[in-house]
């Protein structure tokens, strides 16, 4: 899925933060890292691309479709069908076992059908990411690295065409950072999806096709503002 941003402007009035991006494109199937210091707007830009925020001006287009004009419901359906999200804090549901956590998107929107094929995909992902033997346990039984691998499984289970990961290795030790990032990129490439990873860690960006500093994407860099 191609991501295109044009003349984008978004602000948090109460915080005096404005993100102003003239434009850029992430070609379909590319694995891209967005780097930059905390507060430069990385997460905000990611959430704008995901349709979780709506720009004040300009457009965010996915495969040529400007999503900012879409209704909330349509953007939700887009996210559940075509976008996989990975969060820094994993955002797992502690009361569900690993398999139910992976299959969670199927239970949140009527446009997806939880059938045998979905269950097979979940099992295959758990197998590939080394969590198959724990599929009926709860996340509390997992290490930090395993938890993020589980979050990656959940992001990929619906076969998304775009995966957006916000500091996916931010809470991991160096060994697990390497492993998880490697698995994430490998799995996304296997699926042929586009990957955008937000990270402030510039030491592990060599596996990406492209690394962009968000400061460089902005028209007028802001020193203060939102955590990114």
């Amino acid at each position: 899925m191609q991501v295109a941003v044009e003349g984008l402007r978004f602000g948090y009035p109460d915080e005096g933060f404005v993100l102003d991006v003239p434009g850029f494109t992430v070609p379909s199937g590319r694995c891209v890292a967005w780097t930059g210091p905390s507060g430069c707007g990385k997460t905000t830009l990611l959430r704008l691309v995901a349709g979780l925020l709506v720009p004040d001006h300009g457009s965010v287009s996915l495969d040529g479709r400007a999503i900012q004009a879409w209704s909330e419901a349509r953007r939700r359906e887009l996210r559940i069908r075509d976008i996989g999200l990975v969060f820094q804090d994993f955002a797992l549901l502690e009361y569900l076992d690993l398999r139910d956590n992976v299959l969670l998107p199927y239970r949140l929107h009527g446009c997806l059908r939880l059938d045998a094929a979905a269950a097979e995909r979940a099992d295959a992902l758990l197998e590939r990411l080394g969590l198959a033997d724990k599929r009926h346990r709860r996340p509390e039984a997992l290490s930090q690295g395993e938890r993020q691998r589980l979050a990656v499984c959940r992001a990929l289970v619906t076969g998304p065409r775009l995966v957006l990961a916000d500091e996916p290795t931010g809470n991991l030790d160096p060994d697990n950072r390497e492993k998880v990032l490697g698995l994430l990129v490998e799995e996304v490439r296997r699926h042929g999806a586009t990957l955008v990873v937000v990270t402030h860690d510039q030491t592990r960006v060599d596996r990406f096709d492209e690394v962009r500093d968000v400061e460089s994407l902005r028209r007028r860099p802001e020193a203060a503002g939102r955590t990114g």
């Binding site: 979780l52 559940i80 955002a91 199927y106 239970r107 949140l108 929107h109």
Partner: protein, 391 residues
């Protein structure tokens, strides 16, 4: 819906301790007022049905409630006795069948009811095992009385005073169980019935003892045909074929005591005429319509129940608000989880559905437990109000 139910169940099962506390709180919230309402309505129904099936009662002037409770339910304070002549007065009026009731003593810790065979016919009581009262000293047991005492035809049961203070002339008499009545679903099931004459023997008005004419040691003095016995004369405490002929009553039968007269008029006109006979200013007795007395009593009970229900409602509201507060606060703790769902693609409606399913499960669980409690305690409720209020 299926997915929301699945997620809700998983959440509640994972936090089972918290869920259980909420379910039990809600269950009590449902059970207490409904149980109270059920208790009162069931007891009221049972009381009213019995009262409605008892047309008129004649007894000593005083508390009509005591008279009705004693004569109909064999409970409560015993009213002053009235003489047997009142039974004859009702019968001789030609306006009603008169059924005497003597309810003062107990047998095997259960009420001993002295009456005539007409009582069994009037109440539709049938003997399920054994036979009916035949002779002095016989008794028949209500169905539950037989179960509680573990007795049947051929066994014996010993009488006792109503209270430990009731010792004047009352000695234990061994009654022979002639039969056991079929269950009737009323107070008759828990009573021991005997002939009115047997009740008088228990009271000490009638007795049997060795023949003084042939007694070598029991004579205190002889004056013509009158023989006065001394303290060594043995009174029989058990009536047998051998000694039954020695039983006799002292005094005028017309003055022998009964607790009440159950008057059964054939129609409304006879009922009105009979009631009219007891309206004189010098009348020493009262005649009451049990259903009216019960209605007045129950209206008081229902008024009290209204206040209790109001108080319970306020407590329930407070509990409900507290439970709602706990739930709302738990939503704050779950803010990240719910935000994740929204980010992934869940609509606000879907999330509301999920939370509603959780509430639904809690309410369903609470309702199930409350229903089970009501079913379990339902059997205990019957008669509980009666015992609580009048026992």
């Amino acid at each position: 819906m299926k997915d929301a139910l699945h997620l809700a169940l998983r959440y509640l099962a994972h936090y089972r301790g918290r869920s259980l506390v909420l379910v039990l709180s809600l269950a009590l919230l449902l059970f207490v007022p409904i149980g109270l309402r059920l208790l009162i309505s069931r007891s009221a129904e049972a009381l009213s049905a019995r009262a409605a099936a008892s047309p008129l009662l004649v007894g000593a002037k005083g508390s009509s409630v005591d008279l009705v409770l004693r004569a109909l339910y064999f409970e409560g304070r015993a009213p002053e006795p009235i003489p047997w002549s009142e039974v004859e007065r009702v019968q001789d009026s030609g306006h009603a069948l008169a059924i005497p009731l003597h309810v003062r003593f107990r047998a095997g810790r259960l009420p001993l009811v002295g009456t005539t065979l007409d009582y069994f016919g009037f109440r539709g009581l049938e003997v399920a095992r054994g036979g009916q009262l035949i002779r002095l000293g016989d008794c028949v047991l209500g169905a539950r009385a037989a179960d509680r005492l573990g007795l049947g035809p051929g066994d014996a049961v010993v009488t006792s005073p109503e209270t430990v203070f009731d010792v004047a002339g009352v000695y234990p008499l061994e009654l022979r169980v002639r039969g056991v009545l079929a269950p009737s679903g009323g107070p008759d099931d828990e009573a021991v019935f005997c002939a009115i004459e047997t009740a008088w023997v228990v009271e000490g008005i009638g007795h049997g003892h060795e023949d003084l004419a042939t007694s070598p040691t029991g004579v205190l003095k002889r004056e013509g045909d009158t023989i006065t016995g001394n303290a060594s004369v043995q009174e029989f405490r058990r009536i047998t074929p051998d000694n039954i002929d020695s039983f006799h009553f002292h005094g005028d039968r017309a003055g022998f005591p009964v607790t009440a007269v159950l008057a059964v008029p054939p129609d409304a006109r006879a009922s009105a005429l009979l009631q009219g006979r007891y309206q004189g200013p010098d009348e020493a007795r009262q005649i009451v319509v049990p259903a009216k007395v019960l209605d007045e009593l129950l209206s008081t009970v229902f008024t009290v129940e209204g206040f209790v229900t109001l108080a319970l409602g306020l407590v329930g509201l407070a509990t409900l608000l507290t439970a709602a507060l706990v739930f709302v606060l738990s939503l704050r703790l779950r803010a990240r989880e719910l935000a994740t769902m929204r980010d992934i693609g869940a609509s606000p409606a879907r999330i509301r559905m999920l939370l509603l399913c959780e509430v639904g499960y809690l309410v369903l669980g609470a309702a199930t437990i409350a229903a089970l409690l009501l079913a379990l305690t339902g059997g205990l409720l019957d008669g509980l109000l009666r015992r609580t209020l009048f026992g």
